[in-house]
Amino acid sequence: MSVQAWTYSLVGITFGIYILIAFFSRAKSTSGFYVAGQGVPAFANGMATGADWMSAASFISLAGLISFMGWTGAMYLMGWTGGFVLLAFLLAPYLRKYGKFTTSEFIGDRYYSQTARLVAAVCTIFISFTYVAGQMRGVGVVFSRFLEVPVDVGVVIGMSLVFLYATFGGMRGITYTQVAQYVVLIVAYLIPAAAISWKMTGSPIPQIGFGGTIQEGANAGQFLLETLDHLHRELGLPAYTAAYVPGKRGIVDVFAITLALMVGTAGLPHVLIRFYTVRTARAARWSAVWALLFISLLYTTAPAVAGFARVNLIQSLNGVAYENAPDWFKSWEVTGLVQFEDKNSDGLIDYEGEASSNELKVDRDIMVLANPEIANLPAWVVALVAAGGLAAALSTAAGLLLVIASAVSHDLGKKMFAPKMSEKRELRTARISAGAAVLVAGLLGIYPPAYVAEVVAFAFGLAASSFFPVLVLGIFSKRVTKEGAISGMLVGILFTTAYIIYFRFLEPTAGPDEWFLGISPQGIGAVGMVLNFSIAGLVSLVTPAPPRSVQELVEEIRLPREGR
């Protein structure tokens, strides 16, 4: 069977499975629609959280991103996993004990204020839309590369599928499709990674092979990372394993970005909501264990893939005559993901750190997408990677769309502007909101806003500087007041937004010297978070303490037991 036939069959089968699962676990009540009836087992929720969290970017782009950054990629690896530690210790069990439907609902109740609820709901919608635009684009891109349909057609196919199972299935449907999608994406990631590791280092476990020795070629017997540092020096690039050397990010910036990503992860509404879906606060703690374990399976494999791909890329292409370039190079050249321009007309591919004489341009996504071909794996593995990329994009998109629907129908609707709405009507409103959100997301996928990547970084900064501080303070302090929380959130958001807009769009050429303390827009959420904490604390000191009922609510959510 050809790659094309395999891809159509595998993608078709997995899509069929998702729809079947969504049909049999569809939601019949608002509780089912928003939080899966709070009956999801911890282990299943761990998988669902893994799929919810790992997006098209984690699956397709992460390894390539690290591959080009070397050690500095640690900020993404630690930032996107370390956040789950904060989530497990500071938020998950308490939000579950509180036990209603959304994050904004907790903020509104804990801070006894409709204004706080409104600010939180608007942030939720904004953060989730910026994030979902990237997912829909990811769906379209995978479709166009593997199934040879236009990107826009891919977006429409993906949209229709999410429409079916998010509007009818609700959180219940989404949860169990995410479990299936986790299995698909992790298998699709690990098989090619293990094969490449085995081929290059003789160890089928990438995490070990990464520290092993190269098996074949001129550098046989040498440690893989040693070879990589050596190759980098030859090309005039900073050594792969070196930190903070000239040409790489400085320590303050790396520190701030890592912190912003960790805190942002712990404040993302579509991740937080997953911990509302289990039975008890105890199950929320165990969900966090399973989730981080399942996520780490991919996140510890990615840097190994990055290392293998980097060595492979340099060794198989640099200094090689163009007509002798490997087959995978030729087949991916068509897509524009790799480009060769013979600047000195010697017929050889010269890969260098110096931009003016460098002749090879490589898109970071190629590191994962072309892996199966580089390792000469059979056609079904290539198809599996396509199905895995789609699973990663769809599962994240569905989770985000549901959070948007809940914010509209529950927070803005039921809790603010239409409190008399019956449950039946609320459920219908939720479905309509989900449907509308899918359409908007699809449009964003077809007509992507400029700077999609920057916009996603924005989502993290915003989550870090808005939600995380007020959630933590709301649980760990009984004294923080509504005035404190609202002013903290507003200052955090406005500062972060203003900084990002200024340095991304108004002064895009500014560098570390102009940045505040040398912190890039990507890491500024960390400063926004500190501001939010400080303002919320200070303002609370000079405003009247929260009412007795709120203090009792805080005492109640600190105890894991069920019922009152």
Binding site: A74, L77, V85, L225, A243, R282, R285, Y299
Partner: protein
């Protein structure tokens, strides 16, 4: 001075709940300190010093950022879940 009998049960459970919360905060701060030292200390601040140690084919500081810290994170949330299960039982707040 003895307190009224009908209140003693409530006072006892109130006291227990407060002790539970304090114990929880201790567990959390212990584990969060490890988290901070591993991620920000070993992972980012001392990476260059740690890179002078070699662990198999890995410079140690590099390994922490690309592998080790993530293993530690998983162990931390696991220890937290077990530890809190025990606290729940000891203080009788699980049912």
């Amino acid at each position: 001075m003895s307190k009224p009998v009908e209140n003693s049960d409530e006072n006892l459970s109130e006291k227990k709940n407060r002790a539970y919360w304090r114990a929880n905060i201790r567990v959390m701060t212990t584990l969060l300190s490890i988290w901070a030292v591993v991620a920000y200390g070993f992972g980012l601040i001392w990476v260059e010093e740690l890179n002078s140690f070699q662990m198999g084919g890995f410079p140690f500081g590099f390994w922490v950022g690309h592998q080790g810290a993530m293993y530690v994170f998983v162990v931390l949330v696991l220890v937290y879940a077990f530890w809190m299960d025990r606290l729940d039982k000891i203080y009788g707040v699980d049912k």
